[in-house]
Assembly symmetry: C2
Homo-oligomer: 247 residues x 2
DNA sequence: TTATATTGTGTCAATTTGACTCAATAAAAT
DNA sequence: ATTTTATTGAGTCAAATTGACACAATATAA
C-alpha cells in the first residue's frame, strides 16, 4: 500500500483485511506483529482492498508485502464488524504519530469493518518487512503478545479458536514447517494450537495413519538422546485431505 | 430498510449481508428466497449495514424483517468479495425493474462485498415478508432452487458446506424444529445437511448419548405404524454443547 | 562404561462405530 | 376379529479407534 493512494479513492472505504500470520520456531507458535508509530501499541499486518481487487487477493497482497511469501495457507475465518471496535481517541493518537497529511485523517477516522484471515507460514522463510505506517515487524510468542490496538487481541484469539476447529477435519503443518522435520515438531504445533499436551505414541499413530507423511533419514541434532527420523509431507495426499476433509 | 434512506448516506457503502435462512418442513430442508421485480430471478434475503450498526446486528435485522424471528441461530460463515460477483448488466436490469429514483442508481451499481450468514429457523413460526425491492418471499426445497442473481447459488452451496462442518462439533436442530418432535425429524435434518442416509439405530444411540434430549409422550400421527415418542431439547445442555463443542 | 534424555514400537483394555436383527405396535386391509 | 403393512426403538456383535501405559533403542554427556 502506498499512503498517498489513500486520498485518491483507490481503496474500498470502510473495509479492511487483517492477517494473523502464524509461524513456528523453537517449538513455539509465533505471530507476526507490526509496531505502531506511537511507540506504545502493536498491530496485526493489515491493509485495504483495492477497488478492483478481490478480498482474498487483498489478504494475499498484505501477506506478501509483510513476508515476501505467496501461495501459502491463508484462510478467511471471521469478520469483525462492531462499530466501536476502534476507539476514536486511539485512532487520533495513532494518526498524529504517523505525521500524515491532514487530508488523510478522514480516511483513518472512518469506521472499518475488517475481515480476518489467518496464515500458516514457514518461520525461516519470512523476511519481516514493516509497512509505511509502522516502525518494525517482529515475531511474538503466542502467549507473550504485547499491547495491541483496537480489537486485535480478540482477532488473534478468534483465529486460534478457528484453527483449533479446522484441525479436527483438516491436516496442518505443510506451510508451517520446513521441508523435512521430526514428528515432535508437528506434535508441538498441534499441542500449541489445541492448548494441551498430547500422548506421543498415540499422536504418531494417528498422524502416520493419515498417509500424508514420508519417512526420511535420521537427523543427528547433537543432543544427548536417540536421533529422531525426519519426515516430509506428501503434497498430493496432503492437499487431497485438505480439500476432502479428514475421515 | 427504507429505500429512500439509500441516498441519505445511512448505510455503509460497498458492504452488504446476505442470509441463507434454512427451515425444515415435510422432512425437507428449505431456504427462504425473495422474488426480484424483474420476474426472472430470485435472491437471498439481504441488506445493508447502518453506519452505526454492527454487522451481526444488521444480519439479525434482515432476518427479523423477513421472518419476524429474533434470537435464533444465526452464524456468519463466509465473505464473498470477488469484484465481479455482480454483473453490471444484470444489476442494470434489476434497477430498471425496481423503478427507482435515478439518483439511487449509483448505490446499486457500486461493487458490494457481502458477508454471508446462515440461520436455522422453525418453519412454522415464519411469516415470510418480501422486502421493498422484491415481489414475494417464499420457501424452496434445497434441491429445487430457482434461478438466482449474482453468486447467490454459490452462497447457498457454501452455507451448506459450512453447516456440514459445524455439524461435526456442534449440536443442531433447536431452532429448526418445533418444541417437541420425533427423533426421525432430527435424523432427516442431519441426513439432508450431510447429503447421505444415516442408520437409524446408530443415529438414535449417538444423538441420545449427547444428553441434550428429553423423552416425552408418544405421538399418534394417524399413520399405520408404531407411534414414535416425541423429544424436546434440554436447552441448558444444548447451549452448553453449542458453546463448548461436541466431544 | 555408565547415566540421561528422548525416540519409536508395542500392548491392552475401554470406548465408539458400523452393520445388522428383531420384537413392538398403530392403523389399514381382509 | 384377524392379518397385513410400515415404521419405531431396542438389542447384538464384530471391527475399528482411542487412551493410557510399558519398554527397548540410541545419541551424547558424565
Amino acid at each position: 500500500m502506498d499512503i498517498k493512494d489513500l486520498d485518491t479513492q483507490s481503496f474500498m472505504p470502510g473495509l479492511s483485511v487483517d492477517n494473523v500470520i502464524f509461524g513456528f520456531h523453537d517449538n513455539q507458535l509465533k505471530v507476526l506483529l507490526l509496531a505502531c508509530k506511537d511507540g506504545k501499541h502493536w498491530m496485526l499486518p493489515g491493509g485495504y482492498i483495492l477497488k478492483n481487487e478481490s478480498v482474498d487477493a487483498a489478504a494475499e497482497r498484505v501477506l506478501f508485502d509483510r513476508t515476501g511469501l505467496q501461495k501459502v495457507y491463508l484462510q478467511q475465518f471471521n469478520v469483525f464488524g462492531d462499530p466501536k471496535r476502534s476507539s476514536a481517541s486511539l485512532v487520533k493518537g495513532l494518526v498524529k504519530s504517523m505525521e500524515l497529511d491532514e487530508t488523510l485523517n478522514h480516511w483513518f477516522l472512518q469506521r472499518f469493518v475488517t475481515i480476518g484471515y489467518y496464515a500458516l507460514v514457514e518461520y525461516e522463510k519470512v523476511k519481516p518487512k514493516p509497512d509505511p505506517l509502522s516502525l518494525s515487524c517482529d515475531w511474538f510468542e503466542i502467549d507473550q503478545i504485547p499491547r495491541l490496538i483496537f480489537d486485535h487481541a480478540t482477532i488473534i484469539e478468534s483465529a486460534l479458536t478457528a484453527m483449533r476447529q479446522h484441525l479436527n477435519f483438516q491436516p496442518i503443518g505443510l506451510n508451517l514447517l520446513p521441508s523435512s522435520f521430526p514428528l515432535k515438531s508437528l506434535q508441538s504445533i498441534y499441542e500449541t494450537i489445541l492448548g494441551k499436551k498430547l500422548d506421543r505414541p498415540n499422536f504418531n499413530r494417528k498422524i502416520l495413519s493419515l498417509g500424508i507423511l514420508d519417512k526420511k533419514e535420521k537427523h543427528f541434532t547433537g543432543a544427548a538422546h536417540k536421533a529422531p527420523f525426519l519426515y516430509s509431507f506428501r503434497k498430493k495426499e496432503y492437499y487431497k485431505l485438505l480439500k476432502d476433509g479428514i475421515s
